[in-house]
């Protein structure tokens, strides 16, 4: 297997539970006990109400394709394997995520239902991607 050369996340104290859950193939988001917002990406406090009453909750992993692009020419060498599909998914719980769609571009439509797909890119790191549902 060839070496994985794309950038990898460097988890922070704030985000470590998120990436840890992804490694176990679970999508977990912070949920604010004060205003009931779901939060992505992980924050030190709720960006809606500034509460520190945040708990990790497993969410559905279901959402809709909000927008996407087929990157045919990447701006860095690490993505020289372009084309790839960069996407924004809106989760059923509300937040949007930057992600990749694992599907041929001609099968994609904005607004289509999608489901989470856990991509174990290295033995230590899993990225959160999506497939058509």
């Amino acid at each position: 297997m060839s070496e994985y050369i794309k950038p990898l996340p460097k988890p922070s104290p704030t985000s470590r539970p998120y990436w840890g859950a992804a490694r176990r193939h679970e999508l977990q988001l912070q949920h604010c006990g004060a205003c009931s917002s779901y939060i992505y990406y992980p924050r030190p406090r709720c960006p809606n109400c500034m509460s520190d009453n945040l708990k990790w909750e497993r969410v559905s992993g279901r959402g809709k394709l909000y927008s996407y692009t087929v990157v045919r020419r990447a701006s860095t060498r690490s993505f020289a394997d372009a084309p790839y599909v960069l996407a924004i998914v809106e989760l059923d719980e509300g937040p949007r995520m930057t992600t990749n769609m694992i599907a041929p571009p001609d099968q994609l439509k904005i607004g289509m239902p999608v489901a989470v797909y856990f991509d174990d890119v290295t033995p230590e790191q899993t990225l959160v991607k999506f497939k058509p549902a």
Binding site: P7, Y66, S67, R72, S75, T76, R77, I88
Partner: protein, 386 residues
């Protein structure tokens, strides 16, 4: 209290962007030339410059930058700062200069940007959250974000590739009359744009700005200093700024940008209507950026940017002059000098120095600066009084 009529642009300098980055050039060499040229253009002496706002050159960045750059240039400022709001930095400098002048901190501010196109493969974001949640998925550089905005705009409003391409085509018409435009040598058709290589669907090569080397400078001065300037003063009538995201994924909307609050604030301060504006200079890193700006700055209804561009002649000779220097798409993007090109063109036209592309009787201009992925917005209203 507002910034209305508190300061004026009285001189500028602008270099023709170079497509390469000559090894014997540095950003500070360009800044030295621009400083000398802008001061001469305004008819001032170097000792008149007592404020210094500078953009951080990507080719030669550094901490505590303003004092070191000012020292090289021999300027002793009473106010100095880097303005770091991406492509909106130059427009942001203009109102910050006016605010410092209004506050009595200084009287003639040099707003200056220069850079060399040496970014190469180093487009790795330095914002830690972007490194963690964007880069691993390949959301690197600006192309992807704008492509997803364009795609969503097509989905929500039926905007077409032809309508987007029309922006680049009309701006090229003006660039043909701009000797400083890096891409101003031959006309462009809608077919040329749509037949150029697809880079990030739905954006083609000719809808995407080209990084260049170069720079520009504008001097903003108090009414007292403006009286002894060589050029007719171009007054800052209104300004507004707004930001509501960094990555486009976390913006409240992909298609409704923070331009609206910035533009509304600028027009309210200026006390003028959209219909009074003689030309607009909206930031144009991509064709879609101009359509969204037309909508959110209030020149057409939301979602109607595409049909508006298709129905109007946006060239200097047209019924709705827009980016009469060719925009960055045809002028080139010498780092932050891309964003300054919109300010300079607004000032140039209002001073009546548009030469072969002069907009007749231009008295009022709208300028917009845009940073990141529609992240930071600065709107300016500029006026020349008869």
């Amino acid at each position: 209290m507002s910034l209305k009529n508190q300061a004026a642009a009285i001189g500028f300098a602008e270099l023709k962007p170079l497509k390469d980055a000559p090894p014997d050039l540095t950003p500070l060499m360009l800044m030295a030339r621009l400083t000398a040229d802008a001061i001469a253009d305004a008819g001032l002496a170097k000792s008149d410059i007592d404020g210094f706002l500078v953009g951080m050159p990507s080719a030669e960045p550094g901490f505590i930058y303003p004092a070191s750059a000012a020292e090289v240039l021999g300027i002793n400022p009473r106010m100095l700062n880097v303005v770091d709001i991406g492509g909106a930095s130059p427009a942001g400098m203009i109102w910050r200069a006016a605010a410092a002048i209004q506050a009595g901190m200084c009287s003639a501010v040099l707003c200056i940007v220069a850079d060399l196109n040496r970014v190469g493969d180093q487009r790795v974001p330095v914002i830690s959250v972007q490194r963690e949640f964007e880069s691993p998925y390949g959301n690197i550089g600006a192309n992807c974000g704008y492509a997803m905005i364009a795609h969503r705009h097509m989905y929500e409003y039926g905007t077409t590739p032809q309508q987007m391409a029309k922006v680049a085509v009309d701006q090229r018409k003006s660039a043909l009359k701009n000797p400083l435009a890096a891409f101003g040598d031959k006309p462009l058709t809608i077919d040329d744009v749509l037949n150029s290589r697809m880079i990030v669907d739905p954006l083609h090569l000719f809808e995407i700005v080209s990084p260049c080397s170069g720079g520009s400078a504008v001097i903003v001065a108090s009414p007292e200093v403006a009286k002894r300037a060589k050029n007719p003063p171009v007054w800052i009538l209104g300004a507004g700024e707004y930001s509501n995201h960094s990555s486009i994924t976390y913006a409240p909307s992909l298609t409704e940008s923070p331009i609206k609050p910035a533009a509304d604030a600028a027009f309210k301060m200026a006390g003028v209507d959209r219909k009074d504006v003689d030309l607009i200079c909206p930031y144009d890193c991509y064709t879609i950026t101009v359509l969204v700006t037309l909508e959110d700055a209030g020149f057409c209804k939301k979602g109607q940017g595409g049909p508006f561009a298709a129905e109007h002649d946006l060239s200097y000779a047209g019924d709705f002059p827009c980016n009469t220097h060719g925009g960055q798409l045809s002028f080139g993007q010498p780092g932050l000098g891309g964003g300054m090109s919109h300010v300079v063109e607004g000032v140039r036209q209002l001073m009546g120095r548009g030469e072969g592309r002069q907009v007749k009787d231009a008295a009022l201009a709208y300028v917009n600066g845009n940073g990141g992925i529609m992240s930071e917005q600065v709107s300016l209203i500029l006026e020349r009084r008869s």
